[in-house]
């Protein structure tokens, strides 16, 4: 099997318009949560979110750096975020100017959990209020989930596999895992892989709140709301943004002298086969996905130093993932650290697995693990697990495990190690 490495990183997050700003703020224990500004959420049960900040903000995002004005107007924000993150990743890898021959072997697998919900909502209102002849001709292709991959392939002339994963909150992790396999199976030499989301709109917040998934007890203290593993957690905080990595066949990356961040060595996938929103009561789906990734990686548990947990801050989900991790790691639990960066940037849904994989990679690069914010009073079951409360922790990080679990009972785990 061909080996697959990561040679470029790109990100748009509630804590920064690029990778390094986001990472610096994550390590500094900043929170991206605030009162919703996209619309007037006064009458909503949940009035907070982790929005990507405007360009004039201290750690804001400037879409115009990489996305044409016309495209920004025509497509939903998740696509704009995705194009920006992909552009940053390609530049970081030094691959933004490939030859035609290289581009024939370079593809995209950048997905989303929900896709263009804000645009579907707003154009539905246009349809209802003004009639069918006022609906935008860009409505469909400006909302479709595979249109990050489509737009990016057109922008950079990438003619290899063009794909998009849709597995709710596991999308980002599945995208990276699947794209790595495309390279391993010789379908491509280079793949842009990741996920994006932007669903902070009235129907998105109302819908998730009605599903009892969002935090509603911290509307007046938004930065306290995302508190994975804490006894007072009451649901996730919606985030938005995008994460994209450049995956590359190892020999090719080595031959061109590329900076190699990490190798993707393990990928596990499973289904809960239990319930549409609730995780399996024994956490068996998550356990099997981690177990499969570990087996594929060829590593032992003691080799894994950091787990970036799915840890969304929901009462049930955190507990079940923690239980599965404890059962899997057993005697090796005490030597690893596990944290949830969703405590800082909220839940990026389809973007989560990709953004968090990037944090895992940077933890290896800088030998520091990001914190779990707001872990003031850990639940009983946290005993014996280093959940990195409040502040980042310098430590040895040789290999990392990233978990992502989604509605529908879909689970993905990735293991990466330094090369």
């Amino acid at each position: 099997m061909r080996r697959v490495v990561v040679t470029g990183l790109g990100m748009v997050s509630p804590l920064g318009g690029n990778v390094e700003t986001s990472w610096k703020n994550i390590i500094a224990s900043k929170s991206g949560a605030a009162t919703i500004t996209r619309f007037d959420a006064t009458d909503y049960k949940c009035r907070i979110a982790c929005e990507v900040k405007p360009a004039d903000h201290e750690y804001g995002y400037d879409a115009s750096l990489d996305v044409d004005h016309k495209i920004q107007r025509q497509v939903d924000p998740f696509i704009v975020f995705g194009i920006s993150a992909a552009s940053e990743a390609l530049r970081d890898a030094g691959l933004d100017n490939m030859t035609e021959e290289e581009r024939l072997r370079a593809g995209c697998s950048i997905g989303s959990g929900i896709g263009g919900l804000p645009g579907i909502e707003s154009e539905s209102l246009v349809l209802a209020n003004k009639g069918p002849s006022r609906v935008s001709p860009h409505f469909v292709h400006g909302r479709l989930i595979n249109l990050i991959s489509g737009q990016v392939s057109i922008k950079y002339g990438l003619m290899g596999p063009n794909h998009a994963v849709v597995t709710a909150c596991s999308t980002g992790a599945h995208s990276i895992g699947d794209a790595a396999r495309m390279i391993a199976m010789d379908d491509a030499d280079v793949m842009l892989a990741g996920g994006a989301e932007s669903a902070i709109c009235p129907i998105g917040i109302a819908g998730f709140a009605q599903a009892r998934a969002l935090s509603t007890n911290f509307n007046d203290t938004p930065e306290k709301a995302s508190r994975p593993y804490d006894v007072n957690r009451d649901g996730f905080v919606m985030g938005e943004g995008a994460g994209v990595v450049v995956l590359e066949e190892y020999e090719r990356a080595k031959a061109r002298g590329a900076h190699i961040y990490a190798e993707v060595i393990g990928y596990g996938l499973s289904g809960d086969a239990y319930h549409v929103t609730a995780p399996h009561p024994e956490g068996s789906g998550g356990y099997r996905s981690m177990e499969m990734a570990l087996k594929k990686s060829g590593l032992s548990l003691e080799d894994i130093d950091y787990v970036n947990a799915h840890g969304t801050s929901t009462p049930l989900g955190d507990e079940l993932e923690l239980g599965a991790v404890k059962r899997l790691f057993g005697d090796h639990l005490s030597s690893m650290s596990m944290s949830s960066t969703k405590s800082a940037i909220g839940h990026l849904l389809g973007g989560a697995g990709a953004v968090e994989s990037i944090f895992c990679i940077l933890a290896m690069r800088d030998q520091i693990v990001p914190p779990t914010l707001n872990l003031d009073e850990p639940s009983e079951s946290c005993k014996g697990v280093d959940l990195v409360p409040h502040v980042a922790k310098e430590r040895k990080v040789r290999a990392v495990l990233n978990n992502s679990f989604g509605f529908g009972g879909t689970n993905a785990s990735l293991i990466m190690k330094a090369v």
Partner: protein, 77 residues
């Protein structure tokens, strides 16, 4: 420059993200301003909204330049 021309050009600049000085009356939407056929559909919708006129599909198909748009709108007002 007529008031119609001013308003048309403003819409073109906003929708296509082009510099104002490029939007001359002779400019072709597709050849000079980087529009595709769907962009023209969107522009025509914007003209309809702005000027309160209806531009049927067969007339819209004949609008190729900025001047074509201005002339059509003026003829209906």
């Amino acid at each position: 420059m007529s008031e119609t021309a001013d308003r048309v050009k403003k819409i073109v600049v906003e929708h296509l993200g082009v510099e104002a000085e490029k939007v001359t009356e002779d400019a072709s939407f597709i050849d000079d301003l980087g529009a595709d056929s769907l962009d023209i559909v969107e522009l025509v919708m914007a003209f309809e909204e702005e000027f309160g006129v209806e531009i049927p599909d067969d007339a819209a198909e004949k609008i190729a330049t900025v001047k074509d748009a201005i002339d059509y709108i003026d003829s209906k007002q």
